[in-house]
Symmetry: C2
Amino acid sequence: MDTELRSLLEDIEALKGSLPDASHRDSMAKIEERVVKIMSITKAGTSRRSKVKAMSAEVVDSNPYSRLMALQRMGIVENYERIRDFSVAIVGIGGVGSVSAEMLTRCGIGRLLLYDYDTVGMTKTDAAVQTLSEINPDVVLESYSLNITTVKGFEVFMESLRRQNPKNSVRDDARSAGVDLVLSCVDNYEARMVVNQACNELNQTWIESGVSEDAVSGHIQLLIPGETACFACAPPLVVASGVDERTLKREGVCAASLPTTMGVVAGLLVQNALKFLLKFGEVSPYLGYNSLKDYFPTMEMKPNPQCSNSACLERQKEYLLAKPVRDALAKAKNEAEASRENESPLHMENEWNISVVDDSEMETFNAPKDSDELPEGLTRELPSADKHQEAAALGGTSISSNDVDLEELQRQLDALNAS
Amino acid sequence: MDTELRSLLEDIEALKGSLPDASHRDSMAKIEERVVKIMSITKAGTSRRSKVKAMSAEVVDSNPYSRLMALQRMGIVENYERIRDFSVAIVGIGGVGSVSAEMLTRCGIGRLLLYDYDTVGMTKTDAAVQTLSEINPDVVLESYSLNITTVKGFEVFMESLRRQNPKNSVRDDARSAGVDLVLSCVDNYEARMVVNQACNELNQTWIESGVSEDAVSGHIQLLIPGETACFACAPPLVVASGVDERTLKREGVCAASLPTTMGVVAGLLVQNALKFLLKFGEVSPYLGYNSLKDYFPTMEMKPNPQCSNSACLERQKEYLLAKPVRDALAKAKNEAEASRENESPLHMENEWNISVVDDSEMETFNAPKDSDELPEGLTRELPSADKHQEAAALGGTSISSNDVDLEELQRQLDALNAS
């Protein structure tokens, strides 16, 4: 935009000089003035900065990252700069998706992949790329204008999620997928099931988000294939106030929307994405938002061994098989930490009693004791996953126990293979 | 911006037609092309719509309010259009203030008064007015570039809060102040005390907001002069992680900032502002946000009869004096509602158990039983207001009881007058 205006001004200057008539030159000078005024207006609005090579904590006006890098100095994040190594895919660039994309862009995320099939004059994803590149030119932005629920769209979606970030083809972790996290910001069940299918196939962690049709409640949910319930394991929770989806599809009727609810849900979604990527705080397995009462229910959902999604069952098997390795690693880590604690003192102040994520704590924090219980105000559309588990348990299968031995594990796997 | 570009194009057209030389006309045509390209770029970003006379629920692309008016059809808000009658003052146009202003603008608020003394090239408030008027030209925007903590700044601040909205000089409620709500989005104690002073003097309800220096927690707090604790009644709660404010003022050191925390706090702030103005749901007296654990503490604080702010003590007296009237009104309202309930059926579905704000419910909802208890993770910098109350009670004064009779009320007033 700035470049275009400068070229325009150069052309006007050149032509003005070549005009023989003085009155024409005067008119040209007035046109030039108008352009200068427009330039000053644009400058005040969006003065595009140049790219920044490395993130610095230096407190100067020219450094856009000083207030983010301060998180490192304050001991919140161990290595904030790592954010530049991460790729995040955002599916759905509507109310929640566009705000989430802006937040991640302001945070200096390495690469953003944007998916939508809608248009706002130009395609929504191209419009988003244009706006976001003005906000932060350091972010690598990829625009995918396609419908993931079509066969062709799904193919391109899968392929783009697999592709390595060209910036860091050699990563310290040997992940096969090219993105570190997928954020689902779509507004319908079908699209969520497609994201679920893709992430289950790719063994890709994702966070799902949603806002109710009456715009006064919403939620986010972390889905780790094999480890947590997938979107097909448990029927979606009804967080809306019981509005029939079909009534919304009638012509002349639309769902409600509030910028406030969108902002809160996008904020909670991206905050949890940052916690997940940069490894600080605790990532919420599920977090609801009831704006009428400022009530925030939390809970956890285990995978359903009777899940209808075969890729989910594959991931569940892998997760069970890897349990001995996980346990050994956790034990080694705990022992290393314990010996380190004996050497150096803990943080001086810790008023919020904040600690690094710990499995045993995650299990109890704010979650209902019995995983079959739902937080106040939530109802299930269909029987819960646990009911299936109970039914399965009667047939000899159960993965609800926390300390199964290897023999038990093999029995469970056999049961899964037989199902 | 759009207007400026159109005028520029007209001037170029006119001059092009008057040029005798064909090669000059060609150059001019190229200049014209550049402007058209710039216009298309701006259009994609911010195409300014024309003003809308009345809010409509009609679902057409040209109606920017259909998804807000849907709140009415869905029974969430009784009369959404009333939002156009309201004036909201936002003090501090930084991270939380600017996002809050944008949300209220998108919601179609009637009038926004913006206060800040900082500059970003132009003054922050002028820059905000420019951006916001592009988003929604229906909002009346007032820019006050001043420092409210100076004598002169405070005068202008007070005067602007008193001035009636020219759009609705005759209001159904006979309020003396010209704004309906003040939102405090400042980043320091001194400015908060100034907002507190102004609101106590004007008997003006306000909502305070804050984000901790480490950027990972924040809060909002509703302050109703005389009814709730004012900002001077109780020392500010430490929601930050104990960073010494003085270390932050050193050169080369800045507080951390996260777009996510800003977005969540602004969202909660404006959502509660909407609930307050449009009378739906429950307005939270205090709501904290700990992003590391997704923990949202709530509580209530009563006014301190020993408050150092004399205007607060005046408001406390008025509030106590008006108690019999309030009780009579509440009783009449309850009786009227009870008789209405017998006539017509209740809402068919109410999964979240949502009800209109009710004093007795507010007292118990999520609030600690003993008002001296703080939610987990919060500590007081100084002894709590209740400690002062206890001390006062020993001297014969107490306003902690919920059902005092008139004689008791008089005794309390005498004690307040004597203090």
